[in-house]
Symmetry: C3
Subunit: 462 residues, 3 copies
Amino acid sequence: MTDSLIHLPAVCFVWQIAMIVLFGVFIRYNPESDAHWVEHMRTENISSDIENDFYYRYPSFQDVHVMIFVGFGFLMTFLKRYSFGGVGFNFLIASFGLQWALLMQGWFHFLDHSTGKIYIGVENLINADFCCAGSLIAYGALLGKVSPVQLMVVTLFGVTLFAVEEYIILHLLHCRDAGGSMVIHAFGGYYGLAISWVLYRPNLHLSKRLNGSVYHSDVFAMIGTLFLWMFWPSFNSAITDHGDGQHRAAINTYLALASTVLTTVAISSMSQKKGKLDMVHIQNATLAGGVAMGTAAEFMISPYGSLIVGFCTGIISTFGYLFVTPFLENKLKLQDTCGVHNLHAVPGMLGGFIGAIVAAAASEEVYSREGLIDVFDFEGKHANRTVGTQGGYQAAGTCVAIAFGLVGGAIVGFILKFPIWGDPADDNCYDDEVYWEVPEDEETIPPVLEYNNHMIHKHQDM
Amino acid sequence: MTDSLIHLPAVCFVWQIAMIVLFGVFIRYNPESDAHWVEHMRTENISSDIENDFYYRYPSFQDVHVMIFVGFGFLMTFLKRYSFGGVGFNFLIASFGLQWALLMQGWFHFLDHSTGKIYIGVENLINADFCCAGSLIAYGALLGKVSPVQLMVVTLFGVTLFAVEEYIILHLLHCRDAGGSMVIHAFGGYYGLAISWVLYRPNLHLSKRLNGSVYHSDVFAMIGTLFLWMFWPSFNSAITDHGDGQHRAAINTYLALASTVLTTVAISSMSQKKGKLDMVHIQNATLAGGVAMGTAAEFMISPYGSLIVGFCTGIISTFGYLFVTPFLENKLKLQDTCGVHNLHAVPGMLGGFIGAIVAAAASEEVYSREGLIDVFDFEGKHANRTVGTQGGYQAAGTCVAIAFGLVGGAIVGFILKFPIWGDPADDNCYDDEVYWEVPEDEETIPPVLEYNNHMIHKHQDM
Amino acid sequence: MTDSLIHLPAVCFVWQIAMIVLFGVFIRYNPESDAHWVEHMRTENISSDIENDFYYRYPSFQDVHVMIFVGFGFLMTFLKRYSFGGVGFNFLIASFGLQWALLMQGWFHFLDHSTGKIYIGVENLINADFCCAGSLIAYGALLGKVSPVQLMVVTLFGVTLFAVEEYIILHLLHCRDAGGSMVIHAFGGYYGLAISWVLYRPNLHLSKRLNGSVYHSDVFAMIGTLFLWMFWPSFNSAITDHGDGQHRAAINTYLALASTVLTTVAISSMSQKKGKLDMVHIQNATLAGGVAMGTAAEFMISPYGSLIVGFCTGIISTFGYLFVTPFLENKLKLQDTCGVHNLHAVPGMLGGFIGAIVAAAASEEVYSREGLIDVFDFEGKHANRTVGTQGGYQAAGTCVAIAFGLVGGAIVGFILKFPIWGDPADDNCYDDEVYWEVPEDEETIPPVLEYNNHMIHKHQDM
């Protein structure tokens, strides 16, 4: 590892010990995961164990968990010699981030003020995974150019900022954002872009030889793409309302993603002289439909509405990879390794505004009176909010998410500019050699006979 | 891409727009995914959200979804230089196919004639994935020899034919076929074989250098194999009856597949002089037990019955790879890249007849009176059908599926023979270079110093 | 394959036929998977199909199934030229093992003495997968050094020993061990180590050239690591009590694993001069927290308690890879290919004792009276057992598991020493060539023109 004043082991140890102390003070099981559950069932008149939220949400949780660790992790293995860093650092920062997220989200959303404790269950685990996603998205913009210690800092601040913007958007503005177009993708995307912009490396071309894929690293990346794509319906439905809410969110996301694939392929093929497809587009832009449905998936956007969203975002995202990423790099001095601008930032922003429009267009006729109240939580002090007002707040929420990403990212970027973090030199970017013990290459496997002869000679020499 | 009069981008755009229009006209949420669900619960006296079909079927749906995209996709990455095409075109055609399937299956099975709409929920998504599977199986026979536009055509007709044969088999003949031995595997297998037979290439040996695996492409293919193998119990139980139906189908499939692995290994090892195993067999024939249990999985075939089915199909499928595929290629002029004859066509046909026999052998003693009615849907106009009659219809259904596959495939094959589809030349088959931007090879990563020296010289030269 | 008096095909055939016969005699569907379910619901006053155990446990079962086949299988693909054997033999022995496990566990735990039958449902499938895990762990110690026939023998005896020790620990001693720290990991780890110790090869250095990874084989192994890591919460919660039991076990495991990742990274980085990370640690030690939570996951260990367990086991396991494995090899003559000592044996043992301590510390205040009875099954003849006594029995159970592993493994090791099993020569270990048809290497793909010219010349020569 290049010189670093802040050592990775120290960060891991100290932060993990801090987590243990804070969990000891604050985190407890909620009534559905506590051994008092049987008593709780009696008190609350719950008829069966199957009503435990675990059975409503655990399958979706596991899908989300796969997206965070295999999905994001393998999507970032596409570089020819940064697969260890892609999947390995993703593993590290998500493991830290989910602990910190349980605390941060707990303090903001789930703190019981009478006891001072945060009571957790499966929904908290899903939210913690979601909260990590923001920082993992940011990692996509920084891939290959930062040290693991820097990534830990990105995650520490990323999760913190996430919890605050989420509190503002979901609680103060009372927005709906089940799949996180705003709070996860727009925030995470702009957060990563702002950091990357501050950390601009004018001599990054010295590592150009490693900034690309090889045949098999592209196939590895497809593992990430497909698990993200397949499980996105679970992502967008994991924390929506029981019953029709989860059901509808899954259907809408499934349809939007299917539509995105076709337009991504179309634009990718059109963009090349011989109509060839580009793996970068297939790996990334095919997912934009899931991002863009993050807010509206639980609404009555209707099946063809979902297809339209997927149709447009596939086009926009692929165009982004073709034209906007090079423009950002050349004109705005913004190096975005994975193109999170096109996969998360812009589709997330669009998803926020799509959500605003669909919310504003909601009607009792389509939702039923009860349905409208359920879907938009028009209860308590929000009982008199109109759908038009809701649409306005949704749009405002999107702007809040972007602002948090840009401002927060710029600040974190400046923190990461101090020369204490051990980031790689300009000619060592995208290179696992800097942070990993890398095994010999494949072609160096010697045939049996030669090798053993060689060993025999060595023994004879001794 | 080689010369093509029908361009891929045009097909993707036009067909996707057609999907949007048709979805706008026909597809709506069903009562379980519509915001009126709370009202629906009250009307229908449903006591809890957990009774929403979403919670019965969504975990199975996600497993099936993984089989379609990762299972089929990665199983087809085994070729040394067609992994992009294997997993990428599978992704494309499944994404189109599932939309078209929702429409086609909707028109045939789920159209509400009073409103003219198709109301969809999670069961429709599963069925759409199933319907795609038929065309993905056909792709296995064509792998490396057709263009993506041809594959879109294969899928368009494949889904259409599927919906018709499914209507005949399940509704007119009133067969049971939960895991689709007949409607999915026998149909899909023979459909692909018939197309491949029409598209016979006498000079395919010009691409022989690429028709094989390398070490790591075989490991990639094992990802596909294992996800198919592991999730096949979900495949066969995804749309069976709630309760014992899903439970029993999962158990039977789990057992049959375990048994298949042992006989596949046995035959594979016996077939080689030194007892070595062949990856082609392990990747494919181990799955034949799941195919063959597609119809009978929900019946009371009994656990040892499932083991026997797996035992026999493992043997038959491996023998197919050893002897039948070479015979088909040399004598029948039928080039079957993935050997779908041995994995889908024959085991599917066997599965149909096994289903017929098990159905004919059913008794009130084993099933209970109610159980018999539930499992075979002996209700309404079929209330008086005997199990013997049912067995006969099951056998007839198998023949219908095969006939649809053969005739439909022959017709589609002739359509695909027109020289307008941009299929690869005989010496360019199994080669991603034709349709994809392929990155440099691994061994060409230059060491840092050399590369930078080279860059410096280049700069000096300029 | 090297000379073997016992041929693999014969073993597969004979044992599979034995399974069929034994299943025919003993195995039947249980009331939840039998077509009499509707009658059973009426008799037992079950209100809904959703109360079928299938819906409580099937999602967890599928996750466990993925861990067994993809998790264990791909974790063992890390060797540069033993990936086929790693994932392929794992596939074979797990497929046999789960059938044998259904019988063995059935006879010991589920035999209905009135009918002489074993009635199976989804919980039995989970237990069968668990039972296989013990033998797959043992395979980790033997990887690359034994023949497939030897592995079948390891599995035959491993499953048998497992069923007996499980009977003693869970039934006679009345221990709790939901995730199997004792019965699976401690047993399996020491079983494999004892076998490997008996099979010590003094000249194994002749295969040293192949005892290591290459870049992409390390990435393949991460697929195994991540699926194990992500689904471990399902593993530890799959067979715990409905409701809070499953919910709490999942949360505890999720937290312990997250904590383990940070301490593993810390120790791995500290151990290298330049602070680099070692893939061996990331692939393995990150999982130790899941192993160590196997017993205590369902207890009220509290969230911060789970973090502490993960914290410590990450350190211990990584230290094991750094210092204990080399010590075992050099001083104790114990060659442990995958380091199961550090991932399963020691963390499993620790998990057993952690469970004992947490059980002994249980109180009515924390669990509620009913909760305490539910969690520890203080019913029937164990109604008066105190938590202190329970703790003592848990500790005793851990010792039983270790003893079974060591003694059983030593015996099986001696059986495997007979020169009849066709194990590889000392200079052929870790080499797929011995048991597999291995395709050509990647670098040998000839360019089109050369190849075709070559073919033309060949034709001209003929």
